[in-house]
């Protein structure tokens, strides 16, 4: 196995995080499965949100997992890419909205 911080095979080992802290791990996975169950949002909507967030937090494992999951929820490629663009827009917007602070500061210290 090549040396890398990310190994695709490690995704399958996610449930094993209970090994070092069973109680907290189990609580997390109970919470996780309840979050993704059908509710006021459909399981498909939640999967698309997860796909977008996976890109925003740049989690390679989550991108693999929720690309498969959205396809298995019947999503198509356009829907998946639009979800990623939502993440990109928020990230880009988050950067740009901070430029107001830059402008404020620039104006404050400039003649």
């Amino acid at each position: 196995m090549s040396k890398s911080y990310y190994q695709p095979e490690d995704l399958k080992k996610f449930p094993q995080i209970t090994e070092f802290s069973e109680k907290l791990g189990n609580k997390f996975f109970d919470y996780y499965s309840e979050v993704f169950a059908e509710g006021a949002l459909t399981a498909r909507e939640k999967s698309l949100i997860a796909l977008a967030v996976a890109h925003a937090v740049q989690c390679a494992y989550c991108i693999d997992a929720y690309t498969t999951d959205t396809l298995e929820k019947g999503c198509n490629e356009q829907q998946m890419m639009e979800a990623v663009h939502v993440a990109a827009a928020i990230r880009g917007g988050s950067t740009l909205v901070h430029s107001v602070q830059m402008m404020n500061k620039a104006k404050e210290i400039s003649m």
């Binding site: 459909t42 498909r44 396809l71 298995e72 019947g74 198509n76 490629e77």
Partner: protein
Amino acid sequence: MKNLKSLVSRGSELVHGATQLTHLGQATERLRGLPRFTEKLKSSSLSPFKPLQLEIFQINLGKMCNQTCRHCHVDAGPDRREIMTRETMQLCLDVLQNLPVKTVDLTGGAPEMNPNFRWFVEEITRQGKTVIDRCNLTILLAHEKYRDLPEFFARHRVKVVSSLPYYQKGFTDRQRGDGVFERSIRALKMLNEVGYGKEGTSLELDLVFNPNGAFLPAAQASLQNDFKRELKQLFDIEFNQLYAITNMPISRFLEYLVTSGNLEAYMEKLVQSYNPAAAPGVMCRNTLSISWDGKIFDCDFNQMLDLAVGCAKSRHLSQFNLAELSEREIQVDQHCFGCTAGSGSSCGGTLT
């Protein structure tokens, strides 16, 4: 999608059922380490695996087809010449005459390409049985001689079950060939025009969804809602039910899995998704499958793998013996995980 040829015409080693099963179960350490389907049946108290009452007689009229889909478990295509003769059809009719089954499910290839297709349908319906035609849709536009098939189907109250892997062109054409989506839509309109899929006609038009790759199908009810909404909005097309079917890891879909590097992960997914609630309802328990040359199999998949029915005294229509067949043990191997994964999968869609 580039023009695809059948595995047979390309001389692929995957034409042999035994080679395919070796790939599925033994090709790599990861595959060898997976639980066996027989163990899963035991854990579900389904061993020995026996049939229930026979309800469906599924007849494969041949491997000839006007399409060459990438996932085809039959390895069908225009270059295949194996089709059922009229003599073998007569054998089917003779057997059917004495069987309590109400449904005869015709598949292929493109069953309509068999020159005796219409005569066969007429003879089956004359026995008071319902005919299902597994229609690839584009056959209705493939030649002038097929254009009146919708009227023929309607006249004989044939239930039409048609593959349409998605309500958009991209997924459909990548799986089934360039231009297939557009021709499928035209064919669906032809079926709607004679009343198929329309409320109050009782002419049933069902669609079959299968995933466009190495993943499981979405929930059938949710997909059906999407298909109904989109096909109505985009093309004013109506249909009755949608069946979600899992891609079986054999034949050309197995080739795709091997060449794309997805075989191990897909088999792991099927095994991990084994659903004990789906297993008792798999179609091999209430169906018999007949090949173009009259042999008897547990299902169409076993037929393509040449897994002979576990009943030495009744392996061909000429020696058909329902009592013996009812006592047989169904032949299973690792491919069977395809029918028990997730919500389960059969020719009639999900099982749970």
